[in-house]
């Protein structure tokens, strides 16, 4: 009953207002556009295929494939945290059109940090068939069909230090629950607060650095671990290096 009465009383109240105090039409706020741009790198260099790079451990690596899922992008403010809806992005480094995506928001606040997950949350790994970047047809090379779960990160290449056939290097990293969990949520603070208001257009340039996969908490020697192809302890250890994989280059 109250639900019905309330709008009626508001209507009555509004209709009783004198003509001249009617509020002037407020311009419609324009949604802000945040364009994310991911630059694949090898240390300080832009990542090139078919090029050998020296890693910090002394190993040499040539990359032939590097895909990574980033998801659940958030902006963290003092007062509020906002999340991109359906925030799942498969970055295929050999496909430049996958390096960019736009988040449109009307949550006008000032934010101190960017938060994102390398990998995909457990819920989406356990739910039914998804659309978009999670579509098992689109992401067929990033989806284990023999056991349910997305491959969060796939790095393939060659290295003289690899003991695998043809000096292959293959890291297919996934596993989303319990001790096998490999998805990592990272927080990237902004140098100065990012104010988002009506009509803001900002470009957030991110760096995706292959070298960090070998240099984190667990130093990866290709001669000792040239391939990880299933979930488990090795994949979980490898994923601890995800924390520095993505960093902020600039905001324009």
């Amino acid at each position: 009953m109250f639900k019905i009465l309330l709008p009626i009383s508001v209507l009555i109240f509004l209709s009783c207002k004198p003509e001249d105090t009617k509020p002037k039409p407020v311009p419609q706020p324009e949604p802000a556009q945040l364009q994310f741009s991911v630059l694949p790198c090898m240390g300080s260099d832009t990542l090139l295929y078919n090029t050998y790079y020296s890693l910090d451990q002394g190993d040499t690596l040539k990359v032939s494939k590097f895909n990574v899922f980033i998801s659940n992008i958030r902006l963290v403010g003092t007062n509020a945290t906002i999340s991109e809806s359906n925030s799942y992005h498969l970055i295929r480094t050999h496909q430049p059109n996958t390096h960019n995506f736009v988040w449109t928001t009307s949550e006008f606040q000032t934010y101190q940090a960017l938060q994102l997950t390398i990998g995909i949350d457990s819920a989406r790994n356990c739910s039914g068939v998804q659309l978009g970047d999670l579509d098992p047809a689109y992401a067929s090379d990033m989806f284990w069909s023999w056991t349910t779960g997305y491959i969060f990160l796939k790095l393939e290449g060659n290295s003289p230090q690899s003991k695998n056939f043809n000096q292959f290097v293959e890291y297919h990293i996934g596993g989303f629950s319990g001790s096998n969990k490999t998805q990592k949520t990272i927080t990237i603070p902004f140098n100065s607060p990012l104010a988002i208001s009506s009509g803001t257009h900002k470009k957030i340039n991110l760096k995706l650095d292959v070298k960090q996969l070998f240099n984190g908490v667990n130093k990866i020697k290709i001669s000792e671990q040239g391939s990880i192809l299933s979930i488990g302890l090795k994949a979980a250890q490898f994923s601890s290096n995800f924390t520095q994989l993505i960093t902020l280059r600039s905001i324009q």
Binding site: C126, G128, V129, P136, A137, S140, W146, T147, T148
Partner: protein, 348 residues
């Protein structure tokens, strides 16, 4: 605490009196599919997003019998999941794939899948909608990729018609395809066996004295794992089978990476067990006698052996005979002869 849960589909109209939760409705003609027996738990998959319709079911049915899911267009789901055998495969222990390839596990029967949360003998697949992706991609099964399957099917007028009816769109996408397949697979219910008739107090149907004795044996020795009314607890257990040296199939641990799960496999349902020979994940036993003898022999010395199987199960020859007669009451002849589940191209 008994639920009367109703799934709507395309049979006759029935009054819904006390369904718990929202019943699953068919948006097309709002007619019921089946009653679930009163002592059944609610299904785990509820068709909430993937709303049941006759057209989606029919698309799923066409896909289940579609050989174009395989690389050389030779094998369909029904190739290894045959309705006459409760959608299992008899005759051979391992499934046959493209190019005369032979699999490593026995094809299980398909029924009551909406009650499962994990699929395959090792539970590797955690959602019914994603289940078909595994045999499609497996090199020793269909050896095909999903993108090519969709290309092949979208090129056919038949699937344009079926997809338009089901989704009001001409294009079959992976979600539309897998939702439709889920409707077909998820609506195959094994619930019309003699056992069910006895449990539901259907007029004039009773166990024979021998079946009743067999039921008592079952409750005493088998029901802890093969739990009524679905005849599985859906847990992973090692039942003492020595791993076959050629395969060394580690089962559940292949999925979890945990050594405590080594040699464990999902408890299979005993519904339709008379039809789903050969038995066990590797099809090593061809008769129920061999299965029962395995448990009677017992005294396994086996890593991760299920605690319930320490020692041996003592059974007399008479008890084994009774138990087999009871197990035969679990066969659902309605399901295996139901034309709605048969190859649409073979319809009269």
């Amino acid at each position: 605490m008994f639920y009367k849960f109703v799934l709507y589909f395309f049979a006759t109209m029935v009054l819904v009196s006390c369904s718990v939760d929202a019943p699953v409705k068919n948006p097309v003609n709002d007619t019921p599919f089946e009653f679930l027996p009163e002592n059944w738990p609610l299904p785990k998959y509820r068709f909430t997003e993937n709303q049941i319709s006759k057209d989606r079911f029919e698309l799923g049915r066409a896909l289940f019998y579609e050989t174009r899911l395989s690389r050389d267009n030779s094998i369909s789901c029904a190739g290894c999941h045959i309705q006459n055998y409760a959608f299992a495969q008899t005759d051979h222990a391992f499934s046959h794939g493209v190019d005369n390839r032979v699999g490593t596990r026995n094809a299980p029967g398909l029924f009551n899948l909406a009650w499962h949360t994990e699929f395959m003998h090792d539970g590797a697949i955690n959602h019914i909608e994603k289940q078909p992706l595994a045999p499609i991609a497996n090199p020793i099964e269909m050896d095909e990729n999903l993108t090519r399957v969709l290309e092949k099917l979208n090129a056919l007028p038949k699937y344009k018609t079926l997809t338009r009816a089901a989704y009001n769109s001409d294009t079959l996408t992976s979600q539309r395809m897998l939702w439709a397949m889920t409707q077909f697979m998820g609506l195959i219910y094994a619930q019309h066996s003699k056992y069910d008739a006895v449990k539901n107090n259907t007029n004039g149907i009773h166990f024979t004295a021998a079946e009743q004795r067999g039921y008592d044996v079952f409750i005493q020795h088998c029901n802890a794992c093969h739990r009524e009314p679905l005849f599985s607890d859906f847990e992973y257990r090692s039942n003492g089978l020595a791993p076959l040296p050629m395969l060394l199939d580690s089962g559940r641990s292949h999925v979890t990476g945990l050594s405590k799960d080594k040699w464990k496999f999902k408890t299979p349902s005993l519904r339709n067990v008379a039809l789903t020979y050969p038995y066990m994940h590797d099809g090593r036993f061809t008769t129920l006698d061999q299965c029962i003898e395995h448990y009677r022999r017992g005294n396994f010395n086996h890593e991760n052996l299920d605690p319930l199987l320490k020692g041996a199960i003592t059974l007399s020859e008479g008890q084994i005979s009774d138990l087999k007669l009871f197990l035969n009451t679990l066969t659902d002849y309605t399901m295996i002869y139901d034309r709605r589940f048969s190859d649409p191209q073979l319809q009269p």
